[in-house]
């Protein structure tokens, strides 16, 4: 039977010692999971290895860890796939990030993950009057919301969220995906209030930096970043929520910038996000970025010509694309949970309705 070297990050809070690496050699077929390997080590060699686990079938969400630097479920990661990522032929398992470590691979999810979930009013506020039987709801809308309902709260997305690493107050991918579960549910009475809350929060939905780490981490195809972008689109297009964080203005400035220039004209983007070059909101931002601008000029990374003139202009064809999309009555959203990320001959996806603006 093939052998694999497993290196676990251990931490004994009662020992007074810092975390350390603990290596074991285990015997399993290559398509078995990293969790089975850890449980073999635990069963045969060291029962003190701490890991949360239950279903072994990627549905309970207990065994979130980082394997060779990548967050995910231990039960869902095959040994050969993990080994392929290893830098020194060893499968390295560490606890998830962004959350305090209690012991070995067990982190305090309550302090971070659940705290953020509790903060977004995570229960349905049903529309009144409540019908005697079921709410009559469009079939496609329920299939759409299944995608965020599929979240098993494993924490893998929270573990590697870069924005959260920099700003621990950030609501984060799991809580925002959970928010979409309500905003996208036609039976919820308060989508506007929910979106307003997330938009106005300085660590809310506009703090996401669009880095895709959570999309990569998620074992279920929830696509948290996609849910965040949907929330922004709904807030902006359907409810016109202009937030104090300039999220709304930034998105509109970005789109207008490319529609006008064909390529992104960065010098305009910052002031336009605040309302325009001479807008009172923009002036303090422009002043505070003067040192950067001056450094850029001195190192010839930018030139006055490039900054003040617009060397690019969008072609008619490009502007036609924008106008075509803007005139569509429906917004088509990708449902990764349903369509999967496989190479399909005939792509399949669920459609959600929404106005485009």
């Amino acid at each position: 039977m093939p052998e694999f070297r497993l290196r676990l990050r251990r931490f004994d809070p009662e020992s007074g010692q810092p975390p350390y690496w603990d290596e074991h050699t285990i015997e399993l077929d290559p398509h078995r999971s990293v969790l089975e390997a850890i449980l073999q080590a635990k069963g045969r060699f060291d029962g003190s290895i701490g890991i949360r686990c239950s279903c072994r079938a990627a549905i309970c969400g207990s065994c979130g860890v980082r394997i060779n630097g990548q967050p995910g479920l231990a039960c869902h990661t095959h040994l050969d796939a993990a080994l392929a990522r290893a830098t020194d032929g060893v499968i390295e398992v560490e606890p998830m990030g962004n959350m305090p470590v209690i012991k070995d691979l067990i982190v305090d999810m309550d302090a971070v993950h659940w705290k953020k979930i509790r903060n977004i009013t995570p229960w349905l506020l049903g529309r009144e009057p409540v019908p005697e039987r079921e709410y009559i709801v469009d079939r496609e809308a329920m299939v759409d919301v299944t995608q965020s309902m599929a979240c098993i709260q494993c924490g893998a997305c929270v573990s590697d969220c870069l924005a959260m690493e920099v700003d621990p107050e950030f609501t984060g991918p799991a809580a925002l995906a959970k928010s979409y579960r309500f905003v996208g549910d036609p039976r919820d009475a308060e989508p506007y209030e929910r979106l307003r809350f997330l938009a106005e929060d300085p660590h809310g939905m506009y703090t996401c930096t669009h880095c895709f780490k959570c999309v990569d981490a998620c074992p279920k195809g929830v696509n948290p970043m996609g849910q965040i972008m949907r929330l922004r689109r709904i807030a902006s297009a359907d409810h016109d929520i202009e937030d104090r964080n300039n999220g709304y203005r930034h998105e509109h400035a970005f789109v207008a910038n490319i529609r006008r220039n064909g390529l992104l004209h960065e010098a305009d983007l910052l002031p336009d996000s605040y309302g325009g070059k001479f807008h009172p909101r923009a002036v303090p931002e422009l002043l505070s970025s003067l040192p950067v601008v001056i450094r850029g000029l001195l190192r010839r990374k930018i030139t006055p010509r490039k900054v003040l003139l617009h060397p690019h202009k969008a072609s008619k064809a490009l502007r036609a694309i924008f106008d075509q999309v803007a005139s569509e009555p429906k917004r088509y959203e990708l449902n990764l949970y349903v369509s999967g990320d496989d190479q399909d001959d005939e792509p399949v996806g669920a459609v959600t309705e929404g106005a485009t603006k």
């Binding site: 079938a57 969400g61 979930i117 039987r133 469009d138």
Partner: protein, 563 residues
């Protein structure tokens, strides 16, 4: 010593539903779970929940299907209650936010399921258990002011004083601290005993804790021989492939490509009751018509279902096929075989969830009312947990209003602390806990599975007794107090062995074949002598003592069971 009116052990569907129901009466409610509530094994339930909500359906039809499915061992008064209350419960779930799939006109869509005479299974893709469990947890977060949650606390024993349950002793897994909890009513919702078998579809946490602790406290266990083998588990590793696949039209084929269900269930075919399908598969395998490397599986062909439908409504098993078997189920058949899945037996209760011990209730898979009798229909377990979880919660809360708070000493806590200390200090001369557990699982799966006989069962009984002895010397490695999973493993092993012994004893005792119990030495159903429940109680020396109790029959007389 924390005091509560109603204390619920286990935070799966039954436990969480009981907590929400009890809290409505304004009594003080607490729910305790050895894992975070959303990790409870209810989360893995896939296919759906049964209810006669369609205008062309009637709860009596659902009840009859359930009675027949139980092979007439189910108590019909309990079954009537469950089926009659099902439609309201499903609507309640819908109102609190469960994201049930819709049909073309926006109403709840209903899919076909095993043993049902008409489509009556409401569902959320193939994550129905997860959807309901998470929505109930949302409600617990909403009502956090009225329901106290003890997450990651392990109950070590029940406290029974003067014939009444007065609370529990529990260990805070995070710190190792032991605590006595008093309660006027305790509701056990600890789930099943799947880990007694290897392989099993059940999670690692399904270690018969509630059944064993109730048994030790003097409560009877009923119908313990009735162990459901689910027809479609992945041959590779025992993972569950939902019955919903067959509900959508998937077919079972043997080595020769024939739909062999036509031999044993010409009418319902793949949607006959689970025991019938499992036996049909096992027969094909035993008679050399199986597929796979060892010829120990059969084909489940989902390619006959339209691809778009599979991706929308069976997403989880697409993923399972891809991730765990390397198969795209929309393009090729997958190899499955029967696997241990559910235990119909459990702690004996009435239709309010009361056990014979005053103040002790049970609901969900840990309990045996009995609504499932000799065999459970698919999508009836989700229903069972919610109906009887709610009823137990309401009854326990009602009872608390007229019950004085119990007074309890710390004797039970000191005893449990001593037990843990003893386990921790065992010398490394015995076997390891994990080895004993593996041997138990393999033995039970060999002799207590789809087909059983007296010789096999007797051998199983002897093995279990030997393993019990070995377990009392089994050593552990972890001497720490923070998150010591080693100690919990040793305690859980004790629970599993205790309950395994009752399973074997009951299976030997029932000298007939009914529902999930098939004895090759007694292959016929024998209503004259065996239309009764087998109860097991813990005797003087800890030996299982057997007795019988009658089956409640209201409308449906036993008849020949054909699918």
């Amino acid at each position: 010593m924390p005091e509560h009116d109603v204390l619920i052990i286990g935070a799966g569907l039954a436990g969480q539903r009981a907590a929400l129901a009890a809290a409505r009466s304004g009594v003080s409610v607490a729910i305790m779970s050895k894992v975070h509530p959303v990790r409870s094994h209810s989360v893995a339930a896939a296919g759906g929940i049964n209810a006669a909500i369609s205008v062309s359906d009637d709860w009596r039809s659902h009840a009859y299907d359930t009675v027949k499915g139980s092979d007439f061992l189910g108590d019909q008064d309990a079954i009537e209650v469950m089926c009659r209350e099902a439609p309201d419960e499903v609507m309640h779930l819908e109102h609190i936010g469960v994201t049930f799939h819709r049909n073309a006109t926006g109403e709840l869509d209903l899919r076909a399921f095993g043993g049902a005479s008409i489509n009556r299974t409401a569902y959320v893709a193939d994550i129905t258990g997860q959807a309901i469990l998470h929505v109930l947890y949302e409600q617990l977060m909403k009502h956090s002011a009225t329901v106290e949650r003890y997450e990651e606390w392990f109950t070590t024993s029940l406290i029974v004083r003067d014939g009444a349950c007065a609370g529990v002793v529990a260990r805070d897994i995070r710190t190792g601290r032991m605590e006595t909890f008093t309660a006027k009513s305790v509701i056990l919702a600890c789930g099943g005993a799947g880990q007694c078998f290897k392989p099993t579809t059940n999670a690692l946490i399904c270690t018969a804790d509630g059944m064993a602790q109730a048994y030790r406290a003097g409560a009877p266990l009923m119908d313990m021989e009735m162990i459901q083998y689910h027809p479609t588990t992945l041959a590779e590793n025992g993972f569950l492939i939902t019955e919903g696949a067959r509900g959508e039209g998937a077919q079972l084929l043997n080595k020769d490509g024939e739909r062999f269900m036509s031999k044993s269930a010409p009418n319902k075919m793949e949607l006959a009751s689970r025991d019938v399908v499992s036996r049909a598969e096992q027969t094909e395998i035993n008679e050399g018509r199986g597929v796979g490397p060892g010829g120990d599986g059969v084909y489940l062909d989902i390619t006959v279902v339209p691809r778009k439908r599979t991706l929308e409504a069976l997403r989880e098993i697409v993923n399972i096929g891809k991730d765990f078997a390397g198969v795209d189920i929309t393009r090729e058949p997958i190899i499955i075989r029967p696997g241990q899945h559910y235990i119909m037996g459990g702690v004996k209760t009435d239709i309010h969830g009361q056990t014979p011990i005053t103040g002790l209730y049970a609901a969900g898979e840990v309990a045996c009312v009995s609504v499932h009798g000799g065999n459970r229909l698919g999508a009836n377990s989700l229903l069972d947990t919610l109906i009887f979880g709610r009823r137990a919660g309401e009854h326990a809360a009602e009872r608390a209003l007229s019950t004085p708070p119990p007074v309890v000493s710390d004797a039970a806590l000191r005893a449990d602390a001593r037990t843990i200390e003893q386990i921790s200090s065992r010398p490394r001369t015995g076997r390891r806990v994990s080895e004993i557990k593996d041997e138990l699982g393999i033995t039970m799966n060999q002799h207590c599975a789809v087909f059983r006989d007296a010789n096999g069962l007797t051998e199983a009984g002897e093995t279990v007794r030997r393993l019990k002895e070995e377990a009392s010397h089994a050593y552990i490695d972890d001497r720490g107090t923070v998150f010591n999973q080693d100690i919990l493993g040793a305690l859980e092993l004790g629970h599993m062995l205790e309950v395994a012994e009752t399973i074997v004893a009951a299976a030997i005792e029932r000298k007939e074949s009914r529902g999930a119990q098939f004895r090759t030495d007694f292959p016929q159903r024998n209503d004259t002598e065996w239309l009764k429940h087998i109860d097991v109680t813990s005797g003087e020396g800890g030996e299982p003592e057997l007795s019988y109790s009658p089956v409640t029959i209201t409308q449906w007389q036993p008849e020949e069971r054909k699918y």
